[in-house]
């Protein structure tokens, strides 16, 4: 792949329309391309550049800033193991080792069966269930070696189909531009809010210390 086609192309065009400047749609378009291919293919980069009136080098430059945008083909499941402080204390590195062993790929690589890509990631905000990992950005933890094995078979045998989206999907929310709010309405709302704020302050005894 691949350039955008059919419904995906429609969606891409809608995304471009959401912004006053086409190039603002660069990152949403990268997400879109990635949700189709699992990564941002060179052709997709080119197509995004065309849609946003930029150049492939600029799209690539932007995309490469973000770890969550993949620039190389990945397996069906991208497994990101957290080794940040909380997880590390709880055995994050052991978990990483277990994942590498079980999934058959070391960090940055994809297993031979093209099912798993393993990454080492920073805190994914699941510290309360450390050590943890994500699979295609869905969280699992705490896990030990056994847990990893179970996770693998659940994934392969389709028991997590509903929970784990297909690779490359970062956001499942479809964006659309909100209805325009008439200016007068905004002004009225503001007045109301301002009043509320000043009455709150009056109650507190003035000053926002």
């Amino acid at each position: 792949m691949s350039r955008f086609k059919d419904e995906v192309l429609q969606e891409a065009l809608e995304l471009v329309k959401l912004y006053p400047e086409a190039r603002s749609a660069t990152i949403p378009l990268c997400h879109l391309a990635q949700s189709v291919d699992g990564y941002l293919a060179p052709d997709a980069i080119e197509h995004i550049a065309e849609l946003t009136s930029t150049t492939p080098a600029e799209v690539h430059g932007t995309a490469s800033f973000y770890d969550m945008i993949q620039l190389h083909p990945v397996g069906r499941y991208v497994v990101g193991v957290c080794t940040n402080i909380a997880c590390m204390l709880q055995g994050g590195y052991e978990l990483l080792e277990a994942v590498e062993e079980t999934m058959g790929a070391s960090v940055g690589e994809t297993s031979e069966d093209s099912l798993f890509t393993v990454e080492e990631v920073e805190c994914i905000a699941l510290c309360d269930r450390a050590p943890c990992l994500h699979v295609n950005y869905r969280y699992f933890g705490p896990l030990d070696e056994e847990g990893v094995k179970r996770l693998k078979s659940d994934l392969i045998e389709g028991r997590l189909e509903d929970e784990v989206p297909s690779h490359g999907v970062i956001s499942r929310i479809k964006r659309s531009a909100p209805e325009l709010i008439p200016l007068e309405e905004i002004d009225e709302l503001r007045l109301v809010e301002d009043e509320q704020r000043s009455s709150r302050m009056a109650q507190k005894g003035g000053g926002d210390a």
Binding site: P42, I45, E46, P56, A57, E58, H60, G61, F65, L71
Partner: protein, 867 residues
């Protein structure tokens, strides 16, 4: 520049009150006041971004003094700035320590070592020692980001000059930063390159050794280089350059920031053309054809032979059978001396410095030539058959900038879209045979969005292009004449082919002309040339046709392959074969060598002093940085020697003798003195009665331009400007208008020539061939410079979808061009609605034999068929 910018304000710099232009960044105002603030990312010709933080200074604000980037903050009245305090020094120290943390410090093997702002500024402002002991980052060394430029990523300090140049100046962001943090790198798109006509500039503006040129890499150390100011001769723009050489070999060419001309930029052709000077195919000695072989001989033998044949021919059949082609690429001095010999002594009038047709001399000498500044500031710029990026690349950069900044608005009329099409107010695709009848009915000012009442004629500039090499000069002047009827005071800027075509025309190198726009047959009594022509000679195309019909005895080819842009090579071949003697005064062996009987070795670019006159009629100096190769001589010296062998004394022993005579007989050059060239960085526009806005001398950025003015701070020592000529008459101003009578006459003379009609298409599947002029299409520079010859690409064919349907071909098809019995090789076809229906656009690239379809007589009708 708007009025507002010129407004002066005062601010306080390190305790002293300073005048500055409102709107200037602090860094520039300070520099003009003599305080140099260190910097990396700031470039005077690009928007400031404040990325590197090297220029931090203390500026007083509501919270007292704070550190702020001097490149990013504009001066305001009474602003207080401190550039040298403990806080500033600590900031500079910190920025440098930070930049050096990951810097490889491989200065001993780095091209930039010795002229490196990072080295210099570390020495001046940096920490003495590094506290960083960890492993530095590593990258694979070097990567090729274009066919010319190599990138050593670990040396990059992320100033963004190169990426900004790409996006902002060239308008194609072919490189950008990729990655993040310590892993950030400059990168083209995956699988992409930075290939474009201006890629070499990023080598010059990179403040460290991250970007290097393949041809210069590891060649020299900057302190060993000698440099000479000169002018690029790869097109008629005349960009200002320094030639840097080491041990009699040219190593590189850098752009000088000239406000009037190139704003420090060069195109890659101009930057690498110098390689041709040291190429293998240089002519080092005279050669004479003996028993069908060119044999090396001495000057005496060669000249005697030419003199003998020439005298015999003149005696037997007269001056009409002698002709000279070329002269647009030799210096003013050379052109004048040859004109004097051929026209003034031998009565030969068939001299043509624009063999490709070019632009009618009466337009060039009419005194209404626009300067580049006028083009970018005119109310209405009309681009007539011009593909500016291919024809005059740096002017394209300037026009692009102007169109974006809306200092001018432009209308383009051409048969195919160009790289300016999306920027002009209106791009009209009109077929060449229709445009003559249509142009009068087109409302140009409305298309440009300019109100007619706001438009005085003087604010209209017509850029006359030669984008299609098959259009004749009479077609071009016919078109311009119609525009001039509407705007009689409009100025024109011709995109001439030779670097010195303008100068050569001024020196009389066109049929019917004598120096200074005088016409033959109207020569005053006291004219110092003894034997000027009595009857009008032929232009180059006619000379070649006549030669092919055995009507010409002797042809001189003046300068580096003057016929390389001539689109009808079969005619050239026949003509050279059939004339009894062909004398090439050339620096290189090349295309036509096998047809030539005598080769007289001409000194190459960088091997002689002299001057050229660019398309805006600006005289610019050529510098010498090398000893001439072999026994080669300057063009004028060869003319003098040949005259001597015939028995005449041209009276020239030096360039000054030549200029003395030019000034005596050419009104255009009155008041001009070549010694002015050593003082005027921007050259001198002639005639001097033309008023040109003279910009103040700019304070240049030493990081940007290790050229002329900055040289004390960076790079090799510049030899003091050499006064090339040793006399200095007073600059007397004259009125150029008194030459116009004779010019009208000249155009009458020109009009008598049959106007080439344009082939009009009757059968719908016949297409008119449009041979598109390409930057790397032809010319000695391209053929003989290794860097440039590696950039030549196979020509593409383009056709509109309508024509494709009629011809039953599709996009991507491999096709041949057919015309009568002729058939071309195979080319890939692109179907594109950027081409007017009925026209087949083929890029003219030497070596692909497209010229066999060429003909200046109205163009050719062809068909395309699937291969």
């Amino acid at each position: 520049m708007s009025k507002e910018r010129e407004e002066a304000i005062s601010f306080v710099l390190d305790g002293r009150p300073i005048w500055a232009r409102k709107g200037d960044p602090v860094i520039r105002a300070a520099e003009e006041a003599g305080t140099y603030i260190p910097r990396f990312c700031y470039h005077p010709r690009m928007k400031a971004v404040g990325m590197c933080r090297m220029c931090l200074v203390e500026i007083k604000g509501p919270r007292g003094f704070t550190l702020q980037p001097a490149c990013f903050v504009q001066v305001s009245p009474d602003m207080e700035v401190i550039t040298d305090s403990v806080a500033v020094r600590k900031a500079q120290d910190g920025v440098l320590e930070y930049l050096l943390a990951n810097h490889p410090l491989d200065c001993p093997v780095c091209d930039k070592g010795g002229e490196c702002p990072l080295q210099d500024q570390t020495l001046a402002h940096g920490p003495g020692e590094s506290r960083y002991v960890e492993e530095k980052r590593h990258f694979a060394k070097p990567i090729e980001i274009s066919s010319i430029v190599l990138l050593d990523r670990e040396r990059c300090i992320q100033c963004g000059r190169c990426t900004r140049f790409a996006g902002e100046v060239v308008g194609k962001g072919l490189i950008d930063f990729a990655g993040r943090g310590a892993n950030i790198e400059v990168a083209p798109a995956p699988g992409g390159t930075f290939d474009n006509y201006f890629s070499g500039n990023i080598i010059q503006i990179c403040p460290v050794g991250a970007l290097t040129s393949k041809s210069y890499r590891f060649k020299a150390r900057p302190w060993d280089l000698e440099q000479t100011e000169s002018t690029c001769t790869s097109c008629a723009m005349g960009c200002r350059v320094v030639l840097q050489s080491s041990q009699n070999e040219m190593t590189r060419v850098l752009g000088i920031d000239s406000d009037a001309i190139n704003h420090s930029w060069l195109c890659d052709k101009g930057r690498f053309a110098f390689e041709a000077t040291s190429s293998e195919d240089r002519v080092l000695a005279p050669y004479l054809r003996k028993n069908d072989n060119l044999v090396e001989v001495g000057w005496f033998e060669a000249l005697t032979q030419v003199a003998k044949t020439l005298t015999a021919a003149l005696e037997k059949v007269g001056p009409a059978t002698v002709a000279a082609i070329g002269g647009g690429s030799i210096s003013n001095e050379d052109a004048f001396a040859w004109a004097k010999l051929l026209k003034g002594y031998l009565s030969v009038d068939s001299l043509d410095c624009q063999p490709e047709g070019g632009v009618d001399p009466s337009l060039l000498l009419g005194g209404k030539i626009a300067t580049f500044d006028e083009v970018v500031n005119s109310k209405l710029t009309l681009l007539l058959g011009a593909d500016v990026e291919e024809e005059m690349p740096v002017l394209y950069l300037r026009l692009r900038e102007a169109l974006l900044a809306q200092t001018t608005s432009a209308v383009e009329i051409i048969e195919r879209r160009t790289s300016l099409s999306t920027l002009v107010s209106s791009s009209l695709l009109i077929e060449a045979d229709e445009v003559l009848s249509q142009i009068e009915s087109i409302d140009l000012s409305a298309l440009a969005g300019v109100k007619v009442k706001d438009l005085s004629d003087e604010q209209v500039v017509v850029v006359v292009g030669q984008a299609d090499l098959l259009r004749s000069s009479s077609w071009r002047s016919g078109l311009v004449a119609k525009v001039l009827q509407r705007y009689p005071n409009a100025k024109i800027l011709p995109l001439l082919q030779g670097a010195n075509t303008m100068g050569a025309v001024q020196m009389g190198m066109s049929p019917g002309l004598l120096p200074g726009g005088r016409v033959i047959g109207k020569v005053p009594e006291d004219f110092p040339w003894p034997n000027p022509p009595k009857s009008l000679g032929r232009n180059a195309a006619d000379v070649l046709s006549a030669a092919a019909a055995d009507d010409i005895e002797i042809i001189f080819l003046l300068g580096p392959n003057p016929l390389s842009g001539f689109p009808d090579k079969s005619l050239v071949r026949q003509a050279l074969e059939r004339s009894s003697m062909v004398v090439a005064i050339d620096s290189h062996f090349g295309e036509w060598t096998e047809y030539v009987d005598v080769v007289l070795p001409l000194s190459g670019y960088g091997e002689y002093f002299g001057s050229i006159t660019n398309a805006e009629s600006r005289v610019l100096p050529l510098g010498q940085s090398l000893v001439p190769a072999g026994v080669s001589q300057k063009g004028w010296e060869i003319a003098v020697a040949l005259a001597e062998s015939i028995g005449y004394d041209l009276g020239f022993e030096s360039e000054s003798d030549i200029w003395e005579e030019i000034q005596a007989i050419s009104k255009i050059h009155r008041g001009f003195s070549p010694s002015l060239l050593s003082t005027e960085v921007e050259g001198v526009v002639v005639p001097r009665s033309v008023k040109v806005h003279i910009a103040g001398r700019r304070v240049l950025d030493p990081v940007a331009t290790p050229g002329i003015s900055s040289v004390k701070r960076q790079a090799a020592p510049l030899s003091e400007p050499v006064a090339i000529y040793d006399f200095n008459p007073d600059g007397e101003l004259v009125d150029s208008n008194d030459s116009s009578d004779s010019l009208d006459e000249l155009s009458d003379v020109m009009k008598e020539r049959p106007t080439a009609s344009i082939a009009s298409r009757k059968e719908p599947d016949k297409l008119r061939l449009h041979l598109a002029r390409k930057l790397y299409g032809y010319g000695v520079e391209v053929a003989s410079s290794p860097t440039l010859s590696s950039l030549v690409s196979k020509p593409k064919l383009r056709l509109s979808s309508e024509s494709a349907r009629v011809s039953s071909v599709e996009d991507g098809d491999v096709v041949r061009i057919i015309s009568g019995d002729l058939s071309s090789g195979e080319f890939q076809l692109e179907v594109s609605n950027d081409v007017v229906p009925g026209v087949l656009v083929a890029e003219f690239v030497e070596g692909y034999e497209l010229d066999k379809f060429g003909s200046l007589n109205g163009g050719v009708l062809v068909k395309v068929v699937k291969a």
